[in-house]
Point group: D2
Chain length 143, copies 4
């Protein structure tokens, strides 16, 4: 499956007194990209929370911060999804920035892995991924 990418602009709200993007805010960027990836497959999380009554909850994040992002930067957040359980999706993600010298391509600011589990919107108990989502991900049937 090809990599999905989403563009994110850095605003004042994202920066901290060190003049760079606050470290927790990268997790917002990662989540926006995952949301837009789902939307690109035709899924609205608000609709999924109503029917079939599921939300996605994060169980694990591993993130490495390599270079700081700054105000006005335009970032690219990528997202590679892999179904790795009946209720579980694993994401490889990357936050990059185009270099000023375009010939150099994008520089990587952060690299992350996020483990997501599909849960019941009320009880938060794990629930199998809907077949539609598994199909959209081109996943082989899981038992």
């Amino acid at each position: 499956m090809s990599t999905f990418s989403w563009s994110v602009r850095v605003y004042w709200e994202d920066t901290d007194g060190g003049g760079v993007v606050y470290y927790a805010n990268y997790l917002k960027y990662l989540e926006r990209a995952r949301t837009e990836w789902l939307r690109s497959l035709g899924f609205s999380q608000r609709a999924l929370a109503q029917d079939p009554g599921i939300v996605f909850t994060v169980t694990d994040v591993n993130i490495q911060y390599r270079r700081p992002a700054r105000l006005d930067d335009e970032l690219i957040v990528s997202c590679d999804a892999k179904i790795d359980g009946a209720a579980s999706i694993s994401f490889e993600q990357r936050v990059s920035r185009y270099a000023v010298d375009a010939a150099e391509g994008a520089e990587t600011l952060a690299v992350a892995r996020a483990q997501i589990v599909c849960v019941d919107a009320r009880t938060f108990k794990p629930k199998r991924l809907p077949p539609l989502i598994k199909n959209a991900l081109g996943a082989p049937e899981l038992k």
Copy 2:
């Protein structure tokens, strides 16, 4: 009724690239003080959302920013409540900081008015304030 006050510490998460507290974050401080004021009267908003099924929604905020707050500052957020309708409370609030020279007392960083309406937790339609809250506020019965 005497003024209620709540102390708030400024962390990195609150500051922005200008080296001061980001302007939207003062509204978080104001809300924390209103929440703690309610708690001081014996009310948990999580419990109120279950029974009798109400939440408080803000309909109007007017805030003046006078001096910037900075990392590590310890702020005092005050809150004066007045019932001004069957479903409505108006708050006068102030964000202050003790001066380095204690003899000078506290300096005011921001002054705000917030109008809050009691609504049904599901429909968001206005709902009369529970008698317990009106009593706690020492309010004369409203028709």
Copy 3:
């Protein structure tokens, strides 16, 4: 001067436990629209902070919340600027959402006024708006 508009998507990060956008986050949306309006005129705030060493600080916000925004909503944030002092710009802003029935046009979720002052990036003391910005705003010369 015609009205500038900027589109904003609502993500999980913006919502609160009431299922709607948290009230302080509207101020982030307002600021993004003002930032993009400045960018549309050719100004980067990061560059302005370096040379001529100015930032814009908010001194006053008045916001009315009329209807809640929810997850996945696509909002439109407008921004009408008026120079009203040597160092000061006043903004009229509106947060709207297209109705499901497009024939009905957009519904207004929030209306705001924000007063912004141009200050020295280090001292935070008011500083005259740069002529370039006044010209871009089509403002008559102020004494």
Copy 4:
């Protein structure tokens, strides 16, 4: 070295539309605890940024989310620091909540490791930890 703990209350600002604390906000709680741990040793980060001109930047976070936190919860955030390089500190942290039945003790909501590097406040290049901080941590001299 004994474990440092800091108490954190969950407010509306911390929750998301799923009715639980938004996953990125745990990183704010972790950072507050690290900041208060430093303060308990006598260090203000605002002062350190001035003299000797250092800030602490996070290079790596690994966090496991086990149970959701909710509005009004009072959390305990722990923090165990270990100097593991000339410019680097590694933290083991835990977010817990006292069980309703106090006899059961606290339940763990999240477990995290964070790697922090001491950098020059302007250049963001690694800089040796100040001796005062190493001494406060009871660390053997590093070459």
